[in-house]
């Protein structure tokens, strides 16, 4: 894999939790605007009707740019998860924290934090629901939590 594992030197300055770089590799403004209002959007291919996540510049089904944003219901299941003890830089204050691949009911998987649950209580297949973490005035970041009985 040979990917960068930033050398964590003891004397290194602590960096704050990174905010997402919005609208950097393609136009994701509709996603973040909706997120700010508590709505989770994903991309759909208008021709094939297939959903995709993360946002891409083309439909993975057709290679064309005939795409639209649609709101999803915010429910899904845990596909896999990991408890991070050794933090990625900027996340030191959060350890231990859980990163998971959540399979949304609409048929995509989203990498997200699982909140309001401990590692020992997480199970693959466990139903989860959307919740949000407000990281700044502009950024409401999607996360998931166990489905609460109603």
């Amino acid at each position: 894999m040979s990917e960068a594992t930033p050398a964590s030197k003891p004397e290194a300055k602590k960096i704050p939790r990174p905010l997402p770089r919005v609208n950097a590799y393609m136009d994701t403004r509709p996603f973040w605007q909706a997120a700010n209002n508590g709505k989770l959007l994903i991309q759909y291919c208008k021709e094939s009707g297939k959903p995709q996540w993360y946002p891409r510049p083309v439909s993975l089904a057709t290679g064309r740019r005939n795409l639209e944003w649609r709101e999803v219901c915010g429910r899904g299941k845990v596909y896999s998860w990991t408890v991070t003890y050794s933090a990625w830089p900027g996340h030191e204050d959060r350890v231990p924290y859980i990163c998971a691949l959540v399979e949304l009911d609409e048929g995509v998987r989203m990498l997200a934090n699982l909140l309001n649950v401990k590692g020992e209580d997480v199970k693959i297949g466990m139903p989860v629901q959307l919740c949000w973490e407000r990281l700044s005035d502009e950024i409401n970041y999607p996360a998931f939590e166990p489905v609460t009985p109603r």
Binding site: E3, S80, A87, G107, L111
Partner: protein
């Protein structure tokens, strides 16, 4: 494609692997060239091709490949920078072979050099800053944590099988003077099992330590190898590769790799089955990658990796010697030159130059490459190369 032996590997070189050694990737590469020149007696001016792996330490420099030519005094008529991550070494041989067969060049230095542990972290942008890094997923370690957790759910993963891999490779590293000194200390199964979780269920000793180092092989046509009077030569006889396996699908099985495609393709080209493979040098960024390689290439069925490992003698004296120089996990991962580490060891073994860890019957070897961690998928690049003696 049928088996051919028209391409030959006639030399190899490798630096010692160091942790934050402070030398540049150009300087390290120079050491590899010198070794190859001394070993083969080739005049460097006869090297008319360069197939060079991308680096972490120089990746911000878009002229890396040409600068390397300038530093080494090479004037290739064909040059390619291979951005396949850890698969760049095996992929670099395949590309060199194609270029030679197409007449673009005759003799290619397949080179990898990276001073990653001495360099600043790279910027691996695109979607990661928006949809990956804010979650705090710990890079490759986090992604392999997700993969391992899922594998445990779908199949049976025995920790003692991973412990056996860790110990086997460490024993091999103890016999490898090029292995990073920090890793050349004995390791027991208990050490592995007691090693702390980094990204549970992944332990510290499941993964590589990023280092500095360089390696390379010299590739030419078999006809030219004879003309040059090459004393030793081996041949690439089978190759398979795939990038972004099942890339148009959303709900892929993250435990399934591109080796399911690349493995059978390489074996078919070589006219072999896994039983014919004499030694295996799999890309090992994480121990579970070795287990998945066995399953996906076809040494055993899906979910049978743990049993296969526990029932197979993987030592250098065994029935299927594994990463006999220690692999990246026990010799150190010289950044993106890591893919060349196990490749060079295969060549060294087949040349009969592996010293106290020499395999008794090194007639062939399988070498694999893995590159890059994608979003919510198995690894990004899978390569499988089969080498055979003349």
């Amino acid at each position: 494609m049928t088996k051919r032996k028209d391409i030959a590997v006639i030399g190899y070189g490798e630096t010692k692997i160091t942790l934050r050694g402070g030398r540049s990737s150009y300087d390290l590469a120079g050491e590899v060239l010198e070794q190859i020149v001394n070993q083969t007696g080739i005049d460097p001016r006869q090297i008319d091709g360069l197939s060079i792996a991308e680096t972490m330490s120089e990746t911000a420099n878009p002229f890396w490949g040409v600068f390397m030519c300038e530093q080494l005094g090479l004037s290739p008529t064909w040059m390619q920078v291979n951005g396949l991550g850890g698969a760049s070494g095996t992929g670099g041989i395949a590309r060199a072979a194609a270029a030679i067969r197409d007449g673009l060049c005759e003799t290619v230095l397949v080179l990898a050099s990276d001073a990653q542990s001495s360099a600043r972290p790279t910027d691996q942008g695109a979607h990661r800053y928006e949809f990956m890094y804010p979650t705090g997923l710990r890079g490759p370690v986090g992604s392999f944590g997700l993969l391992t957790q899922r594998y445990r759910h779908q199949y049976r993963l025995k920790d003692e099988a991973l412990a056996k891999l860790a110990v086997t490779q460490r024993r091999h590293a103890l016999m490898n003077p090029n292995a990073c000194d920090k890793l050349r200390v004995p390791l027991t199964e208990a050490d592995y099992l007691n090693s702390k979780y980094v990204s549970e269920p992944l332990r510290m000793l499941d993964s590589v330590m990023v280092c500095d180092g360089a390696n390379g092989v010299l590739v030419t046509s078999t006809a030219n190898a004879k003309k040059l009077g090459a004393k030793k030569m081996i041949h690439p006889i089978g190759y398979g590769e795939i990038t972004n396996f099942k890339g148009s699908e959303m709900l892929v099985d993250i435990t399934e790799s591109g080796f399911t495609v690349a493995g059978p393709k390489a074996l078919a080209q070589a006219g072999m089955t896994p039983r014919d493979i004499r030694m295996i040098m799999p890309y090992d960024d994480f121990l579970i990658a070795i287990l998945l390689t066995f399953e996906h290439v076809g040494f055993c069925g899906r979910g049978e990796g743990s049993e296969f490992i526990l029932n197979t003698d993987l030592s250098y004296k065994g029935t299927l010697p594994l990463n006999t120089s220690g692999g990246q996990i026990s010799a150190g991962q010289p950044g993106l030159a890591g893919g060349g580490l196990n490749l060079v060891e295969a060549v060294r073994q087949m040349f009969g130059e592996a010293g106290e860890r020499q395999v008794s019957d090194p007639r062939n070897a399988m070498v694999t490459g893995i590159g890059v961690i994608p979003y919510g998928r198995n690894w990004g690049v899978s390569t499988v190369l089969i080498l055979e003696q003349s």
